[in-house]
Symmetry: C2
Subunit: 382 residues, 2 copies
């Protein structure tokens, strides 16, 4: 079938000797400089933040979840209220995740069929069904700028035969997704999702057959699902190379700061992850000299900021001692300030990477940054 | 003893024919136009808000709690970190509550003696002790602008003999509080607390004997403790008249919007209450046409703001449908936006009362406002 007449654009601006790419996504709701990190706004809110605060950190695009919004408050309700952007007061681009990851995380509560996936709501136990076509309809009702196909997020570990069948199913669902699009909603893009587990030949086959569909962008799914870090790194060493140079590459659900740096070095352009927001609510703070948890007793009398190298409002106005106090009291302001800091850190990290790529010194940036993360745990980000 | 050499000032600017007073409290950290409402910042944070947001609602003074800060993180720690204002990043005036209300709310966990009150921490069960002198020391360490004496918040109902003895104890504690002050901390004020239950002669005696101490201000305590609304109204009909005209009058822990309007009409100048903040987190919203709870199903498709007559950020940018969605998901942003709205409403209510007093039309304002509250429950605010 011919390419969809989308107004979505991607421009590759420059490529660093390392392979890191500097680009720009253009949507009718604004541009996104890449490499880009998308804060996660699961239920039509980036947890604890106003949209203005999210924007103030430098974020140009956020992510919403089909799974959550489909269940509550419902995509049709959001459409009646003027669409997701208006509903949540965010005027910039939004990428909506298809729900594949959430549904497959339900385990025994869901059943995969050729037609789609039946599952029970985590909210009220009601029986629900999502197909590739329904997921497109939901995202068209929400009015997101980038839609994701429904896919099966292949678990790890998995039998190679299962991985292959799962990858083929996601491919068929990609085609059904593309066929289901409303040709009049030209402001929307659709990204396909490369699966294939940790098997190079399957990743290659998935990517090549998705390329034939000439979608607006391509995601790498099925990583950061519990595999060893070395294995994720291996898959990232070859998979981006299977994807077209002139389309954005989105690594789903990754990850820690060092994971982002590694993946950008492999030619990835877009990321999302709950780490900066979720971990903030658990007291974990990301800084230019490493990560730490605010609950540690050593901070109880510490008058210094979270990160003296950071210019966010939390670091400019509040001490570690105060943030620890708020955290121990489970005060909302603690969640707010720590979320703001972490999002600010992630966006500044992306900004520094973009600059390093433009200046052709990404390898140096990468080396210096990873030196600040000498003792990271083996498991990747959520 | 001679009056304390305090830099604290109160100016009575005008009195409405109704008896409502328009005044100004002046502290070294800024002025407070009265009648004033003080948002409650129990644990060194007005829950869910940044200090900038609190200020943006029009608040000029906030309240902190000795009881909570004494237990955690500790007043000495706050002093080492530069005092309460710096700790929480609020540069305006702060009134600190003495802890009497919180300690006496502990019920079986506390024992009142002449010397002070022994109690068990609600956090870790540890044995603690507060005396009038310790409470002054704590407030001097915190560096608040208005200190409250330790008092016994007389319960309701109570035997008249108990009410009289309790009132006498609070009076003796007031004198010990005054004697314990550091004469070098002249930026601080000390307010005495009128007790005496629902008995006019005891209220009169308490007030008159506190007046003899020439304190910087006087509070009315022991109301809004479960008594019928008519009884609170009766006590408020005479107690303010026992207090000096040239000192501020602070009604502690009150209350609902209609309670504030009634009390201002009785000549009260200052208020604090957790209602606008706590009830926001329970979904209750105060508006110029009454109160409602956002969780009601009727709001699920409502594209309108909480209050079309309100100019707060929550009303300018978000629908009732969205706030209901946030509330049902217990999203922090819901708590934030609803708290912001309620605080904005309370401050605007105070502003309108101040203007009505200046223009000599408070009785008219009162009548019109109470007409928007036709079916209020009998119980007063917390």
């Amino acid at each position: 079938m011919p390419p969809f007449p989308s107004q979505f654009r991607f421009d590759l601006l420059s490529t660093d000797p390392s392979g890191a790419r500097r680009g720009r996504v253009t949507t009718t709701r604004g541009a996104v400089e890449t490499p880009a990190f998308m804060p996660v706004g699961t239920a039509a809110t980036v947890k604890a933040m106003t949209p203005q605060e999210v924007k103030s950190t430098g974020a140009q695009i956020i992510l919403g979840n089909v799974y959550h919004l489909f269940l509550r408050p419902g995509h049709e309700r959001i459409a009646r209220l003027g669409g997701l952007h208006r509903f949540m007061n965010w005027s910039g681009p939004i990428l909506t995740d298809s729900g594949g990851f959430q549904v497959f995380s339900l385990g025994a509560l869901r059943t995969i069929r050729e037609e789609g996936v039946a599952f029970r709501s985590h909210i009220d136990g009601s029986s629900q069904f999502l197909s590739p076509e329904i997921v497109i309809q939901v995202q068209e009702a929400l009015g997101s700028d980038i839609m994701m196909q429904l896919d099966e997020c292949t678990p790890y570990p998995a039998d190679p035969d299962y991985v292959a069948r799962s990858m083929e199913l996601s491919l068929r669902w990609a085609k059904r997704s593309q066929a289901a699009r409303n040709p009049e909603q030209t402001y929307q893009a659709l990204f396909g999702i490369v699966q294939g587990g940790m098997i190079e030949s399957l990743r290659r086959s998935s990517a090549e057959r998705l390329r034939e569909m000439d979608l607006e962008g391509y995601a790498i799914g099925g990583l950061s699902v519990g595999e060893p870090k070395a294995l994720m790194s291996e898959v990232l060493s070859y998979t981006p190379g299977f994807l077209p140079v002139d389309k954005p590459r989105y690594l789903m659900g990754v990850g820690k700061p060092e994971d982002l740096v590694e993946a950008v070095g492999r030619g990835v352009d877009m990321f999302d992850c709950v780490l900066p927001t979720r971990n903030a609510r658990n007291g974990q703070l990301f800084t230019w000299s490493g990560t730490f948890n605010i609950k540690r007793q050593q901070f109880q009398d510490d008058p210094g900021p979270v990160d003296a190298a950071c210019g966010c409002d939390a670091c400019r106005h509040y001490s570690r001692a105060y943030l620890r106090h708020l955290f121990r009291n489970q005060e909302i302001l603690g969640h707010r300030l720590m979320t703001l800091h972490n999002l600010h850190f992630y966006q500044e990290l992306m900004q520094r990477m973009r600059q390093a790529i433009e200046e052709g010194r990404f390898a140096e940036f990468r080396r210096e940054f990873l030196a600040t993360r000498p003792h990271q745990a083996e498991t990747p980000g959520e």
